[in-house]
């Protein structure tokens, strides 16, 4: 277990300053400022279509804000999002034609963490499904594969979009365990979810988005 969740050696920060985001002619978020530091967990909640996914994309550096800034820090120095962010989108991004272990193995190659692959597959409960193509994985198994990718990325900031959708009960517990371990070792997690929020670290916070009156 230790090797999957080594203690973070760097301090990281994720900060937004008067962030504004919109899609088409719909303004979604305005003047949002917050700051997360090592060990923080942020639950993002709000109704369907309020802008959670859009926010998470901006936090991952995949969407340029209309106004304001998102900044990523490592040991007090500003860095590129891609250095410290891992993002689990709502949809699976597994290659349909690859075996489960090949798909994970590819990303392990990119992240230089080949040695973690089989342990990570074990941890998320896919040990029996390494030899089938990801096309054949069930909905929940696909989400588990995405969790394994978060783990092997070894990145300090996890951005997770509805990780518990389509997950069974043990799956939901698995996610909780992952997040609290990650916070303990000094990581940051931002989660968008319709699940009830749970206090998974000493610094769990909740970001609630409500429609303007």
């Amino acid at each position: 277990m230790k090797s999957l969740f080594p203690h973070m050696t760097h301090q990281v920060q994720l900060e937004t300053e008067s962030l504004a985001l919109s899609r088409g002619d719909r303004s979604l978020i305005e003047e949002l400022s917050f700051k997360l530091t090592s060990g923080d967990v942020l639950w993002t909640q709000g109704d369907n279509g309020i802008g959670k996914t859009t926010l998470l994309e901006a936090l991952s550096g995949l969407r340029r804000p209309d106004h304001g800034t998102v900044s990523w820090n490592e040991n007090g120095k500003a860095v590129q999002a891609s250095r410290i962010i891992a993002y689990q989108p709502h949809k699976s991004y597994a290659k349909a034609a690859l075996l489960t272990e090949e798909d994970l193995g590819f990303w392990a190659n990119i992240y230089n963490s080949k040695h973690l692959v089989s342990e990570a597959l074990n941890f998320v409960g896919l040990a029996d499904f390494t030899k089938i193509t990801t096309r054949d994985l069930s909905a929940g198994q696909n989400r588990r594969l995405a969790l394994a990718k978060l783990i092997i990325s070894q990145k300090p900031i996890w951005i997770m979009d509805e990780p518990a959708a389509a997950m069974d009960k043990t799956g939901a517990q698995l996610i909780d365990e992952l997040i609290s371990r990650h916070a303990e070792r000094g990581g940051i997690a931002v989660i968008a979810s319709h699940d009830t929020t749970r206090k998974l670290s000493a610094h769990t916070r909740k970001l609630v988005l409500r429609a303007a009156a």
Binding site: A20, S22, D25, R26, S27, L28, I29, E30, E31, L32, F34, G46, I50, G51, R64, K199, T204, R205, K206, L207, V208, L209, R210, A211, A212, A213
Partner: protein, 246 residues
Amino acid sequence: MINYLANPIRFLKFSKIATPVFGALTILTMIWGLYLALIKSPPAIEHGQAVRMMYVHVPAAWCAMMAYTALTIASVVSFIWRHPLADSAAKSFAVPGAAFTFLALITGSLWGKPAWGTWWQWDGRMTSVLILFFIYVSYLAIWSVIPERKKAARLAAILAMVGFINIPIIKFSVDWWNTLHQPASLSTPGAPGMPPEILWPLMMMVAAYSFLFGWLSLRGIEADIIRSRKARDQKAPAAQATIETF
């Protein structure tokens, strides 16, 4: 000047005056030029009356290339400084640019029938203008298939810039390959000049086309600015965000 106009509001103020001026100049020079070209100037010795096609054809070909240069400059500005006005400008240069290219192709082939006895020859010059037309169409197609404005602007700008590097290559390769078309006589230093009774109407038509290009581009930019402001003003209010601790 360019810095001054880079603000959309100031630009709208400027174009409120400039657009009608360009419109008026277009009409004036066009009427005068057409009179000179179609009525006043003499038929040429080898081309006969068909020479009058030149007054439509040559300015169109020149303006097509001028428009592409303008398009490239606007694209560079748009790509590096992400200036929305440059996006509007680039897009607005491309439409008349494509139209001029098309006109040069059409008038050229209409001229080709009496001059060479065929509508088309696969010679270097014509082929390279055809390719220029393809580049314009691809450029506009990118705008039309990508709905997100900023994204479309960046991608189209990339294509326009790479396309510009490509233009000398095209010209060079097709010149080498096969040539039948008239060599440039005005643009080449030391080439035999044209007699003034042909040169004058030609110059007048070139002016008319250039003003037309300016007028069309200004109108395009105006419309584009107004459209994007309208979209911005209509934005629905954003969500209220609150952060709670446990």
